[in-house]
Symmetry: C2
Subunit: 575 residues, 2 copies
């Protein structure tokens, strides 16, 4: 980051905007203004749609697209991340609001504000505790399984709306679904099909068509990303012109209050905050992890860097601000960020522009939003989240690493069957447990010398020279309390199988640390070997390991066993 | 174990006694009978003392020394472990019984039986789930800190009894202790000092005296271990002869019912079992971990092996049986096991003999136990647990490994301040968290070649040859979701510092696994390098890692980057 400019580095650490603003050019602005407009065009329908998905009034999605988006632009380290309402956070809010304890609180708007405010505070606390690295403890397979599962939940929730039914909460009760099928409304379905047709046409077909015309890429992106706006415009026009609500009973968004929300602080209520805390923790965690993952994708493409801890601050403040300004919880959105990026955004100026456009829309055009058919929004949501479902990915993962594949599948099924929060918890616990399990079963190899070289390799994998009274064992991990028991058992088993062994050489190429428990075990092993007239030796130990061992009398205890610089030295002397 | 005798291996797996019984000799018996008698002599006062320490009637310690001891002899894999009442389990029972929820249940005898039964069932469940390896997740520093803390708690609890006061529960309230000092009783103190003198004389002085006389070692052990019995005998005689209870107000053990306890099953009560479950889990965990640790000490000395899972079964059944036969929870005792071992025990026959002696004592001599002064038992407990306090050990540990030293100190203080269960939990969480932290900060070194060799070492530690457009990076750990973020940052930082690098070679000597998250990150890194005209290469990759990578198209993606067998090949071609 700004380590090389000591004059303003502190300011720039907290306001990364300073970094790019001082070298901002006209060319940057040309890219940013176009991308900002395109992203704003996407933000309006997404904002309304995701608020409705979360079970909240539409304006909460719009409010979440103004100040929070601008705040992230000032504080965030990603130059292209589009922060605002996102589908995954929306389904998490919906799922939290639907739990009995929370719905018993009443006033779901207030609960949603509390969730956003608490998530923001949690992120800021994590930043304070330098816990940005926590993102590393959710593995990609778990995140992928979670995202697929959440996307499937969203689709299952929105599909009935395409035909005018409310989202069912039937679970595995098939008879229950029949009831919803009866809510079927032809006019709504027609609107939905029209919207889907426009979205799909603009999404893939138009894109490749325009590319064939050799139009500039930003232009292609600009036109093809107008699909959602056009779908909204045309179906709203149809709904208004034919008065479909009164004539055919299709559902519209309804009145969206115009103008800015008044800043509010009336949601501070200890009891409610306590009840909502667990859900807020999950929203904070997922919002943070997904945002950083998305930010890294575009940052890698441009060779920029994301500072995890600063991201926590930026997203934390954005969520506090969304709560105060009457919006829903926010995060970085995948599809919107990709649109912003491919429309040519060069800095967060694009998002500042988008925020201004949203602000203007809310003030002047919110009356126009009332007649948007809900089916159109359902179609937009489905098309937006469909790319997040990666079922085939599970097979790829399984094929490469069985444990990871199982974790991905279990997380996906967990989300679908147990729900959002329990599903991701299950996935995280599973990977941590398997991490500990792997750590307790280190890779150990008995090695021999590859003829005519000084290289020592696994006797099971290579044709090597061995010495019958010499046991060369390479331990491929740090020696800790978690794995030393396994190492001990391995050595004793090997010695029982080969009673003629006189010297054991532990090859420490891969050992960078030996903790107290492991040191005690090595002392015991050495003692046992000496008692039966054998020696324990060490080779290829790294500097820090030897430094640490020299603080103890272990190297003294080893005698006549020795520390050899190279394994070759050990075989020359003992072999 | 018995893998080589397929005929009775299954039987021997479940009854390890079969292994040694079939080759049992007269010589074995000579050792065992002597050790059995000596250990029984220790078991009687310890059994009564530990039951009183736990706040239970004295017979519960005696009952715990009969059937459970015999059960372990049949099922356990250690040939010398003495299972029965132990001090650490006793203080854990006392601490559990003292908590408000549990003391509210009333009938502490029943609660203690439930604790033993539940601990036994938990151990059996752990055995079923093959969780014997769980012992590896409590590091030695945590166990040492816990043991020292528990021993200090026991001493603090028993010290007032030397002077006839009840154990205070004053915590840090000094005024409260004054009240206890007023309970001071001169006769009791005299008895205690007499007992302590005998114990200390027999413990250290007599031992070295007898050794100078060149008596056989078993004889020395036999005589010097009679200290507790002699202390009990002499002080009981004094108490009876001078009628110290009536005349001087000293406390005696009181009536111990004679004969066997009736087997009972009247403690099955779901509500109570639920309330006691958390404490039972801790007792099960500590009883198991401490027993295996002690069993391993003697097993290592004789080159025998402990099978952790079978230990769970043996200790689990022993605890179920102790509950049914009216005893307190049992585990392997450190001092008793060492006495048994050094008195020449060769097999668990010694413990079968001790169990018979205990049984006979309970039937015929329990009347004699009523007049044992409690102060004598307090003296026995203090002398027995004093060697478990290892305060200086913390400094040794800290000096070798700071994190381990802190964990040991925190666990010790946690036990003293927060109590037994919270203290050990704190220690375990601390080590797991530091384990994860270490895992996320792998050791990485930029290496160069040691001149005139084919060896590559850290450029910071050795004088080595380097190539200015070649970056050789050795990663000293498996690549996983937990650490790949760190590796990524490290590489990008290094490349930013050295913009002239053309080829990056990752040396995989220490990498035995690459998980899905890490593979994806490597693909991203490779893509980023290729975009800026650099190549990513791999050297010294192990067989299993290459096998796994070959299942993906990563090696294809690398091109023109290559996989080199040896780092030397890489520098020859790229250097």
């Amino acid at each position: 980051m700004s380590d090389k400019q000591p004059d303003n580095s502190q300011l720039a650490d907290f306001f990364p905007i300073v970094n790019w603003l001082k070298s901002y050019t006209r060319r940057d602005f040309d890219g940013d203004i176009f991308a900002g407009i395109i992203t704003a065009i996407l933000l309006v329908p997404q904002g309304i749609a995701y608020a409705i998905l979360a079970g909240l009034p539409p304006q909460m999605g719009l409010y979440a697209s103004i100040l929070p988006t601008a705040i992230y632009a000032l504080l965030g380290t990603s130059r292209t991340l589009s922060v605002g309402p996102v589908s995954i956070a929306a389904i998490m809010i919906a799922s939290a609001l639907a739990t009995p304890e929370i719905s018993a609180l009443g006033d779901s708007v207030q609960s949603a504000l509390i969730l956003a405010a608490e998530s923001g505070i949690i992120m800021l606390l994590m930043a304070l505790l330098q816990m940005g690295g926590l993102v590393n403890f959710i593995s990609h397979p778990v995140l992928a399984g979670f995202t697929s599962g959440a996307a499937l939940l969203i689709i299952a929730n929105q599909l009935p709306q395409l035909a005018g039914s409310k989202p069912p909460s039937c679970g595995f009760d098939l008879a229950c679904y029949q009831h919803y099928l009866q809510g079927f409304n032809t006019a709504t379905l027609a609107i939905a099909i029209a919207a889907l047709t426009i979205l799909i046409f603009f999404g893939k077909l138009l894109d490749s068509l325009l590319k064939k015309l050799n139009l500039p890429m930003t232009m292609v992106t600009g036109i093809s990303k107008c699909g959602p706006l056009l779908a909204v415009f045309l179906t709203t026009l149809a709904a208004t012109y034919f008065d479909l609500q009164a004539q055919q009973g299709i559902s519209l968004v309804g009145v969206v209050p115009s103008g800015f929300p008044s800043l509010r602080l009336d949601f501070v209520d200890i009891t409610k905050w306590k009840i909502l805390l667990p859900s807020a923790i999950f929203i904070a965690l997922i919002a943070y992890v997904e945002s950083v993952a998305i930010a890294k994708v575009t940052a890698n493409l441009r060779g920029e860097k994301i500072a995890p801890n600063q991201e926590l601050i930026a997203l934390g403040v954005a969520n506090l601000v969304t709560a105060i300004s009457g919006g829903m919880a926010v995060a970085g959105g995948f599809s919107r960020t990709m649109v912003n990026f491919s429309a040519g955004a060069r800095t967060q100026m694009a998002m500042l522009i988008a925020a201004v456009i949203l602000g203007v829309s809310v003030i002047f055009f919110s009356g126009w939003f009332a007649n948007i058919p809900k089916a159109t929004l359902a179609a937009i949501i489905i098309v937006a989240v469909f790319p997040l479902v990666h079922i085939r990915n599970i097979f790829h993962t399984f094929n490469y690493d069985r444990g990871d594949g199982i974790a991905e599948l279990v997380t996906l099924l967990g989300v679908l069957i147990l729900g959002i929060e329990k599903g991701i918890t299950l996935g995280i616990i599973l990977t941590l447990a398997s991490q500990l399990r792997k750590a307790s079963h280190p890779h150990i190899a008995v090695v021999g010398r590859i003829p005519q070289t000084e290289h020592y390799r696994n006797i099971k994998r290579h044709t090597v020279e061995i010495w019958h009274h010499l046991l060369l064992v390479r331990i491929d991990e740090n020696l800790t309390f978690a794995n030393i028991g396994y190492v001990e058992d391995y050595l004793y088993d090997e010695l029982n199988r080969q009673p003629n062994i006189k010297h054991v050489v532990l090859i420490f190429t891969s050992v960078s640390d030996i903790d107290t428990t492991a040191l005690e075990a090595l002392e015991k092993i050495n003692h046992a070997l000496q008692t039966s007239g054998k020696t324990l030796n060490i080779s290829e130990a790294k500097g820090p390991v030897l430094d640490k061992l020299r603080k103890t009398d272990f190297l003294e205890q080893l005698k006549p066993g020795k520390v050899f610089f190279r394994t070759e030295d050990a075989t020359k002397e003992l072999g």
